[in-house]
Symmetry: C2
Subunit: 192 residues, 2 copies
Amino acid sequence: MKMLKDKIVQEGIVLGEEVLKVDSFLNHRVDPELMRAVGQAFAERFAYAGADLVLTIESSGIAPALMAALELRVPLVFARKQTSVLMQDDLYIEPVFSFTKKQQSQVAVSRHFLPDGRNVLIIDDFLAHGEAALGLARIVENAGSRVAGIGIVIEKSFQNGFRKLTEAGYRVESLARIASLRDGNVVFADGE
Amino acid sequence: MKMLKDKIVQEGIVLGEEVLKVDSFLNHRVDPELMRAVGQAFAERFAYAGADLVLTIESSGIAPALMAALELRVPLVFARKQTSVLMQDDLYIEPVFSFTKKQQSQVAVSRHFLPDGRNVLIIDDFLAHGEAALGLARIVENAGSRVAGIGIVIEKSFQNGFRKLTEAGYRVESLARIASLRDGNVVFADGE
């Protein structure tokens, strides 16, 4: 997606070989027009899938997922992150390990808003090791629903998340795929 | 705003005299069409104000604020909540007391994304005691910018947030104003 890649080149900040900061348009300041285009791109790529719900995770997933849900004309559910161990009967809870924060947290979705028999499109801002997306997928399947696909704004293709998700049988569509962040440069996977 | 009030009547859950749960369309599951209408309503009510930035707070503020920012064609910044005491030179940080959680937390915005001389529209999902909105307003003013106005999706008018914000000189526009939650019933402030 050209508009997104241009923005990454112009405003992304490479911090070491593994971290790309995109706080200026995705994770802290948000570019609404770019989010609309991102939502439209997800809706096109998953048009075939017949999703009837979009699921994401707070907070940075909400903007792109909302625009995808708006375009697909389906509801959005955002999972809550919680670091305390909390068990509640009316929640689906899955542990998720964050490699960035070196910390295990929990992801929770109310059972009321994830009934069985749904076809759920998972959207997230970043794909690195795939832990968050796999946690959301487990929640969808524990609820007796199906993962329609996984849409990612920025994939760090040099980490193993994409492989883990596709090996688990999920179709992953990433709008920007980054092959390398070496020497402070962003190299996209499709050679652009 | 009729669409919003209808949704509150149909799906809101009154828990005691002070708590209204709107998890089904605002705080956990999100209704994208309603959020679009909410964004349009904010844009209309603040059209005169010439805001050049929308500021909200994660997570539930993001959806309505994104749609307002999209409509106004300005960037969105969402403040981060943090419970740990963290001081960083490049952040504006304000303490905010949550009456619901009986807990002090901190609200943080990067200095990079809140330059001086801006005209900032603050958007939040709920107005109760006004602590979050006041914290955001202090951050805007500490940055040398101006509060263009404060837009609230649901105001609990029986609590003192509206009074505190207007006494501090801010113009507040709430799309639904709730006068009472007594006896499990939602009574709107405009008598509807």
